[in-house]
Symmetry: C2
């Protein structure tokens, strides 16, 4: 019986910094009241004064994982959802518009939902039923991804791992890498890279003054450097997370910049994890995949070094490249944020220092910690890549890009410095000298529009807010009207 003194103290159960446990506390209280009712039945207390209760909770003897203790506050987007909910509670009549979390809003084209429904119905038939699929994804979908996004880039069906989303794959990649690697990220960047790194124990503690975790290399991306890091100042790390078009800045790296990045990775023996979740939003001729960069994947004939032994029967050739992994998603292309479908490309020639293929370890994680994406979602993904589906997908992307133009024009007209937008569904608006969270709160309070504070993406995002172009047209227009009213 665990009533030893060390297990008795005031419980932390009621302290919570996230919305998650708020209803829980209510539940807990209701359970506590039940216990109290039951307690009264066998209590010998006769006094009239209502007793004050103090919870002395039972605690297990299992230590909390120290890595989770390092994480700061909540994950960014649930935190924004919490603030939005609190705002709506305070202003129940306000017409709140969300241009915050980057969640798609437009219906999925029928050519795609028909495929989702068809696969659903088929599961009721002997011929159409399927159980466990290949953990790596269904063969036709893997092939379609390879041919649609990586044609002539040397990526083949077997290099593609279909998943339930890029965020999930980022964590699975971190499980592969383990706790002993070092990592670099763009600053600012999508928080899942840093948070998953902290969770896996790759980092030191959070340093409050710098707003950075120890042992992570933050590659500062500013307006001054065109949102591409000065690699000459970046320390060597094992892993380099790189997102282009970038979330949140909206900047798409150029071919020349990515060529330098690949060379930097090769010089350091690093692995690039390239997040191309927004690649289809690129309007110009910047690369849509890291594998467009010579050296990221392909054997470069010019660089092959031939060594013939004396008998001339033995040819040794060096494969000089394979430094990148690419992760992507149907979320922002086809409105699959709720349907859940993504993929990760790991060339099988990408090797750890001992020569072991990274893809083989990733495959093991996919088989052991995952069971493949939903077969229904995969049918939808295949429909997205049909000629008709891909056309429909581009129309929805075109719609969001029109939204982007409206937002960019609005902030430009108000005299703000505005970045992003051209190649991404995100507009990155500068508020020099101001705190991002203050601006976020000001906009929410005065316009009832939810944005995302730049500093939520890293210290490099301070002084910016991200405005998402995912929204109904009417909402985007209304939000821009309110922005104009606030900042005119």
């Amino acid at each position: 019986m665990s009533l030893a003194p060390q297990s008795i103290s005031t419980s932390m159960i009621s302290s919570s910094s996230s919305a998650f446990l708020s209803p829980s506390n209510l539940n807990f209280n209701s359970r506590r009241q039940n216990a109290w009712v039951q307690a009264k039945r066998i209590s010998v207390c006769k006094c009239v004064a209502a007793p004050q209760e103090e919870k002395i909770a039972y605690k297990t003897k299992v230590s909390r994982n120290g890595n989770l203790g390092k994480l700061q506050a909540g994950y960014l987007f649930p935190e924004i959802a919490r603030r939005k909910a609190a705002h709506m509670l305070k202003y129940p009549d306000a017409e709140v518009i969300s241009l915050g979390i980057g969640d798609t809003t437009e219906p999925i084209p029928e050519v795609i939902t028909s495929a989702l429904a068809k696969r659903s119905y088929a599961l009721s038939t002997q011929e159409g039923y399927s159980g466990y699929g290949a953990e790596q994804g269904e063969k036709p979908l893997r092939a379609a991804i390879a041919s649609t996004f990586y044609k002539d880039l040397g990526i083949e069906e077997g290099d593609i791992f279909v998943s339930d989303g890029a965020k999930c794959d980022i964590s699975r990649l971190q499980i592969v890498f383990g706790s002993n690697v070092t990592m670099a990220v763009q600053d600012p960047s999508y928080p899942a890279y840093v948070d998953s790194s902290v969770i896996m124990g790759q980092t030191g503690e959070f340093q409050k003054d710098a707003e950075k975790y120890g042992k992570i290399e933050y590659m500062r991306c500013t307006a001054e450097n065109g949102f591409f890091p000065d690699l000459s100042t970046v320390a060597r790390t094992d892993i380099i997370f790189f997102c282009s078009p970038n979330n949140p800045t909206g900047a798409a790296a150029t071919r020349e910049q990515l060529t330098r990045l690949v060379q930097f990775a090769k010089d350091n023996g690093s692995i690039i994890v390239y997040d191309s979740a927004y690649a289809l939003y690129i309007s110009d001729d910047n690369p849509r995949s890291i594998f467009e960069i010579p050296g990221a994947k392909e054997v470069i004939p010019e660089l092959i070094i031939y060594l013939f032994c004396c008998s001339c029967t033995r040819l040794m050739f060096f494969l000089l490249s394979f430094v990148a992994i690419e992760t992507s998603s149907f979320s922002k292309y086809a409105g699959f944020t709720g349907v859940r479908l993504g993929w990760t490309v790991i060339p099988k020639e990408l090797l750890f220092s001992d020569g072991f293929p990274v893809a083989k370890d990733f495959n093991r994680i996919v088989c052991t910690c995952f069971n493949g994406a939903s077969n229904i979602s995969q049918a939808g993904g295949l429909a997205c890549l049909s000629p008709e589906g891909f056309k429909a997908v581009h129309e929805v992307i075109g719609f969001y890009k029109e939204n982007t133009d409206i937002i960019v024009e609005t902030f430009n007209s108000l005299g703000f410095k505005v970045y992003g937008g051209k190649n991404a569904p995100y507009v990155w608006v500068q508020f020099p000298g101001r705190s991002s969270w203050d601006v976020f709160s000001e906009i929410l309070k005065k316009t009832h529009v939810v944005t995302t504070p730049g500093s939520g993406f890293g210290p490099g995002g301070e002084g910016f807010i991200r405005v998402s172009a995912f929204g109904h047209r009417g909402n985007v227009l209304e939000a821009c009207k309110r922005f104009k009213h606030l900042y005119k």
Copy 2:
């Protein structure tokens, strides 16, 4: 340029113990041939003899995660799939029947697929479209799971985390626990517990002689102890994985046994992770949830200790329990193995030794490393729990249970000792003194029926094979006919 000597050696790329890299090797060869063609263009080689190639692969300087290096062979079921594929290649005309991997085979009832299709179509409409859902799952589904499976057990909607399957949740739980916990498993048991523990770095190396990983407590479950471990011989661990009805033995623990298990966990301050994925297969009155056991979850009035301070205005009460997490799945209930839907219950009063709620850390992992189950799958799950859907689900379960009876009768008639079956879709057949893999191979070779070798579930499974009842009736009857022919 990484041509330093340490990065040059013969590549391991072509060595593979799994089916996964077989096509990859072909692909690699095709790419290599391309390179060779390109090479010839600039080669100065004039000799006639075809040169033997030796790959000198580029390797990154990223060290492989040592924990993954500890894993033995492939994950069990992909390994079986590989052997099945090899068998089919060897016997292309054989009618292979799979009673191996435990994959559901019967169509999903229409009342459920209609809901899947309806939600799919709705995604094409402004009103029906939904993007990111709550990472923890949709509220109506969480509520339905709570009321269907945990009514009167004190589990509420907020305790339920909806997921893409129990296997995925087991890994997410392991991420929560981290590398510094110790763990116990039933031996034999579903391999995901042990493998995910190895991956997270909780274990020592694999000890070939014992066929066990160091630092894992294997709780031997044998015919002699009724497949329930002798807890007096089990060392204290932080985490206890316990699956009932058990996969692979099919044994469902009794109320008395689970009461002892809960008491054991409380005495040790351990957390039980209870896998109830097969609970609906229970025919008798054994518990379907760990939360049926007093102390696993509920406040026990009899055990509340009241301490009144002298002024009698302060009541301190001790919550003595909350030792269990439960994970479960729609896979084996509704044929959702490919649709992907499961859930995990974490009472918010379950605390780490420092008083921090386990649910809060799990919630953080769910928000950071996962994005919720597919909204379509969740609509299907809700339909499963409607009165009509739940009835249909039970009919399919009834069908599989008839299969189980047929398999049990077959092996009984052949004089084998047969376990399981009554409360689970698995029949556990003893082959005294024989190697499980040998029996597996014998059955595959001579009957073209795929089973699962007991030793794949741990050393305690040696001498057994698991026969799954998931199959079309004709296949089960045919397989049993072949078993009778082989072992008559």
